[in-house]
């Protein structure tokens, strides 16, 4: 499956592309809307802060392009900050910064009193059955680095939670739009498993 990994200057994407290739995909880095054509999956990675990331996406003409591919039903995967960007807005850095608005909901700082960033291994608590989380071990550890988390308007999009001070969505899925708050590319075999599950599910869907 051709995978377009959106490269908007958000750091080292080599481990992300490597993980997607290991999961059976054919990833390529794309820097503009033209690169999205023909992709069976569009991945929005991300480290860093929300507002600069949105500025760079906008400058690259990617905000409308990503909204359009999602509307057209092309599967989209947001990773870490990339998952947060899929939502309506974030208050990171003060004020409200508009996100991609592909999923309904907001991004808010992790609760006061807990150590931020939330950095390290933590467990997934599966909220509902989904092909992405099929066959996970118990406990299922994945690797997080983040200070903000999403608050979906519809909690039914949450496939798995994790807890750091309070419960927050670790995996969301609405139709073909999926978000991982953790870094699958740093989450060892389980991260590989989750990506492989996702790609297998998309391939099965494409074959129908």
């Amino acid at each position: 499956m051709e995978i377009a990994v959106v490269d908007y200057g958000a750091g080292n994407l080599r481990s992300v592309t490597r993980a997607l290739a290991a999961a059976g995909g054919a990833p390529r880095l794309v820097t503009g809307p033209d690169g999205l054509a023909g992709a069976g999956l569009v991945v929005v990675p991300g480290v860093g802060a929300f507002a600069p990331a949105m500025r760079r996406l906008r400058a690259a003409g990617m905000v409308e392009a990503l909204r359009a591919v999602a509307r057209a039903g092309v599967p989209v995967l947001g990773l870490c900050l990339g998952m947060q960007l899929l939502f309506d807005e974030s208050d990171e850095g003060g004020g409200a910064t508009e996100g991609l608005g592909i999923l309904r909901g907001v991004v808010r700082r992790l609760p006061a009193g807990v150590k931020v960033p939330h950095m390290g291994w933590n467990t997934l608590e599966v909220a509902r059955p989904d092909p992405v989380v099929a066959g996970l071990p118990e406990p299922a550890y994945v690797y997080f680095v983040h200070s903000y988390a999403v608050q979906p308007a519809d909690p039914a999009v949450v496939v798995a939670w994790s807890t750091h001070g309070a419960r927050f969505p670790a995996i969301v899925r609405a139709g073909t739009v999926v978000g991982f708050q953790f870094h699958p590319e740093k989450s060892s075999r389980l991260g590989a498993r989750l990506l492989a599950n996702l790609l297998a599910g998309l391939a099965a869907r494409a074959a129908r």
Partner: protein, 238 residues
């Protein structure tokens, strides 16, 4: 980016070696516990404690000192050096270490798998390299195992975190091996902590940009070239 202040233990004292050479040792303090308290007071988020005598001997030699350090500071401590048996891993964790760092013993045999099964994320594996090959037994010997291959092996065995050191740079204040770090970050799907040669704030920024989860800072702290107060003010550092 997590910054670890290093404390290397030899004959009960806090020392720094150059390039892992036991003949080129500088004693920085007779009381490693006082050093730990100083780094903690200056804002170190973590301590990285290596039992050098233990690494040479293949069994811990400073469990008592490690225990006293862990009791003396409120910050978490990762500790290693000579952990080649599950009992020793358990002992260093029981002494109060938040994380046990496996070295030599992790390359062969079931230690990584067994330790991770027992202790999960409280395990890290140190990969110490000389010219791209793994160095063992307190860095006194170099194997013919390439670092990347060793990394893949220990990650396949379950290692949840790697600590990568280019021995040639350790204690030399020449900057860390960012190329080796990048290769490692690409090769394995677990977080990697960078050690060896970290000297400036720019080294730490570069390590962050290259994908390191953290850096271990040693001699530069002891020499006063890096101040923890400045380090922990870097964006994203804790």
């Amino acid at each position: 980016m997590i910054v670890y202040a290093a404390i290397d233990l030899r004959r009960g004292r806090a020392v720094r070696l150059r390039q892992g050479d036991f003949a080129r040792e500088d004693v920085f303090a007779d009381d490693p516990v006082a050093v730990a308290q100083r780094w903690a007071a200056e804002g170190a988020p973590w301590l990285h404690v290596v039992d050098l005598d233990g690494a040479l001997a293949g069994a811990p030699r400073h469990l008592d000192v490690i225990g006293r350090i862990c009791r003396a500071v409120a910050i978490p401590v990762q500790a290693g050096g000579g952990l080649r048996r599950l009992e020793d891993v358990e002992a260093v964790l029981a002494a109060g270490a938040a994380r046990a760092v496996l070295g030599t013993g992790a390359l062969a045999g079931p230690l990584v798998r067994e330790s991770v099964r027992r202790f999960g994320d409280r395990i890290a594996v140190a990969l110490d390299a000389r010219r791209g090959a793994v160095a063992v037994r307190g860095w006194q010997a170099v194997t013919d195992v390439p670092v990347l291959e060793a990394a893949r092996r220990v990650v396949a065995a379950g290692a949840p975190r790697l600590i990568y050191t280019d021995v040639a740079r350790d204690g030399m204040l020449v900057g860390p091996d960012l190329e080796g770090l990048v290769a490692l970050v690409r090769a394995v799907a677990v977080p990697v902590v960078l050690a060896g040669g970290v000297t400036t704030l720019d080294d730490i920024r570069a390590a962050d940009a290259a994908g390191a989860e953290g850096v271990v800072v040693g001699r530069a702290l002891y020499d006063g070239r890096l101040r923890l107060a400045d380090v922990v003010r870097l964006p994203g550092v804790r």
